[in-house]
Amino acid sequence: MTSTDPPDDERVPLFGTWPRIYAAVVACALAVMALLAVFSAVRY
């Protein structure tokens, strides 16, 4: 069961290309984990 034809997709909203967006997400995730590791390890 399908519906009507898909509309044309929109242009990439940020950073120009999807691979750059994905790289930004991965970099952000790694940065958050690094910050969490610091939060966990630093002596209060």
Binding site: S3, P7, V12
Partner: protein, 555 residues
């Protein structure tokens, strides 16, 4: 609860139902009802995806877990951002361009009707049963803490959700999820702020974190390589990655959310939005639980958090024994407070040792009380982790705010239930009713059937929840049921999109072999459940390829 709290909760319930009905107007076809006419923007879909995932028991359970165990649970979500990227690269474009209503519909295009029917049926079985538990768990906690009738709580939560989902379909689900997610975020910030504000005047946030740290509550990164250890960095990154791939890629309750995007770009952005926000949100929730733990160093903490079990203990236990345990607990608690104050003031190793000794004594006294409860309950395991945060809300939050946070728990439950009722109805209508019973139905007829089936699944969830108290350990079986085949279904989808040569026979029998493998691992090894999805997906993928290679080619 005060009358102000009751008013806040009542306003929330009335407003959410009215808002759901209002936003769900204008459905003409099942594409409107199930996919919101494919017109939703990324931020609305993204918030709906987030709201569907965070259930009430996640909200109250994780704060309780942070109180008892610390923040290790956060690693559970570490695989999520990477899973979102992989889904945006693989399954999402396939689903979106195929213009399907359900994830399983895509499998018929790629393989055959048998594979689609089996995967959809597995979804209906597991989600249909677990949605009852999703409703039962917070209802039980709220009824115990607030003294409400369990049935009334179930019917209030489930009934109000059925009202707007059966009328408005996915549009109502998404827009109420947006509103509920806003309430949940406000609630999280208020709880966090209140927990900080309620620390003693001479105890700064840094001292509170130091106290939590010395008990191991701030430890997030457990680098143990044991497959049996819960919530390690590796199980979170690898097991969590596969779990999130399975949940967001193959579970209709999530797939349906992002298929409502107005374009592939909007669908992708909705998932990436979650990739950014999920871990920070869980961090805040867990940190709130840790601060509640510190808070109870300076305020009396109940010996048992479940008041019903405490009353049962008072009625049935030997009074002398109970009095002795209470006395031991009270003395240990006072000692813990004194030593905690001394340690935060001096930070000396001796003060730290004295604090740990007092804490161990308090844990031992509580352990004695837990053993007594288990004894009078015929040996049944006692766990009151889910009662900690609601108890804190009621006892220590200002009037009005307590009602708002109870509304947040309702919002978290209802946002999950709404997505699940809607997706169960979708799979039933699209994969069974329209596929086998009435493929040529009219728009009006299909819409009516869709609404009736939404109400049916909502009613079924209420029925399971009302009977769940008598199911006992069957609830655990239901909860585990999904984990047996989640990863295996993911394996079928990976076969579909990554290997053009994989055939229907390989996918179907590979799925059977994958589920058997997961069952064997869960039954005969101590491997933690986060790894089941890795086992299932890998087994199906390899078995599917081998069976395809060994089978005669289709003409």
């Amino acid at each position: 609860m005060s009358s102000l709290d009751w008013s806040v909760l009542a306003v929330y319930l009335v407003a959410v139902v009215a808002f759901g009905v209002w936003t769900g107007r204008g459905n003409r076809r099942i594409e409107d009802f199930f996919l919101a006419g494919r017109q939703m923007r990324w931020w609305a879909v993204g918030l709906s995806v987030m709201a569907t995932q965070i259930s009430a028991i996640t909200f109250i359970g994780t704060t309780g877990q942070a109180y008892t165990d610390g923040m290790r649970f956060l690693t559970f979500y570490f695989g999520l951002p990477f899973a979102m990227v992989v889904l945006c690269l693989t399954l999402v474009p396939f689903f979106y361009r195929a213009r399907v209503y359900t994830a399983y519909e895509y499998l018929e295009r790629r393989f055959d009707a048998r594979t689609r029917t089996l995967t959809s049926l597995l979804f209906l079985l597991s989600r249909g049963l677990s949605v009852g538990v999703t409703l039962y768990a917070p209802s039980l906690v709220l009824s115990v803490i607030l003294g409400w009738s369990e049935s009334a709580t179930i019917l209030m939560m489930g009934g109000s959700t059925i009202l707007y989902v059966a009328y408005g379909g996915n549009k109502s689900v998404i827009w109420t999820d947006v509103a509920q997610m806003a309430i949940i975020w406000i609630g999280i910030f208020l709880c966090f702020g209140t927990a900080v504000a309620q620390l003693p005047a001479d105890l700064g946030l840094r001292d509170a974190l130091a106290l939590a740290q010395t008990t191991g509550r701030l430890r997030i990164m457990d680098t143990s390589t044991s497959l049996a250890a819960p919530y390690t960095l590796w199980s979170g990154l690898i097991g969590g990655f596969f779990l999130m791939l399975s949940y967001f890629g193959c579970d209709q309750s999530q797939v349906q959310r992002y298929l409502s995007g107005s374009s592939l770009t909007q669908s992708r952005l909705s998932l990436l939005f979650n990739a950014f926000l999920k871990v920070p949100m869980q961090f805040l929730i867990l940190l709130t639980g840790v601060l509640v733990f510190v808070f109870y160093h300076f305020h009396p903490a109940p010996m048992l958090w479940n008041p019903v079990e405490m009353r049962k203990l008072e009625a049935k236990a030997d009074p002398a024994e109970l009095a002795a345990v209470r006395q031991r607990y009270a003395a240990a608690e006072a000692q813990r407070r004194t030593t905690a104050e001394a340690w935060t003031a001096s930070r000396s190793p001796d003060a730290e040792a004295a604090y740990h000794a007092a804490r161990a004594e308090m844990d031992a006294a509580r352990g004695q009380a837990v053993k007594m409860v288990e004894r009078i309950n015929g040996g049944a395991r006692y766990n009151d982790t889910n009662y900690i945060f609601p108890s804190y809300i009621l006892a220590h939050l200002p009037r009005g705010l307590a009602g708002l946070v109870i509304a947040v728990i309702f919002a978290a439950a209802m946002s999950t239930l709404s997505g699940e009722f809607n997706s169960l109805a979708t799979a039933t209508v699209v994969d069974f009713y329209k596929r086998f019973v009435n493929p040529a139905g009219t728009d009006a007829g299909d819409l009516l059937v869709s609404r009736l089936l939404t109400a049916f699944w909502g009613g079924f969830a209420c029925l399971v929840a009302l009977r769940a108290g008598q199911l006992g350990s069957a609830i655990e079986v239901v909860n585990r049921f999904g984990s047996y085949f989640y990863g295996s279904i993911l394996g079928v989808f990976l076969l579909a999109v990554l290997t053009p040569r994989a055939a229907a026979r390989g996918a179907f029998y590979g799925l059977m072999i994958g589920m058997a493998a997961v069952f064997a691992v869960s039954r005969y090894t101590p491997v933690h459940f986060l790894w089941y999805n890795v086992v299932g997906a890998a087994t199906v993928f390899v078995a599917g390829l081998v069976i395809t290679a060994a089978s005669p080619r289709d003409p």
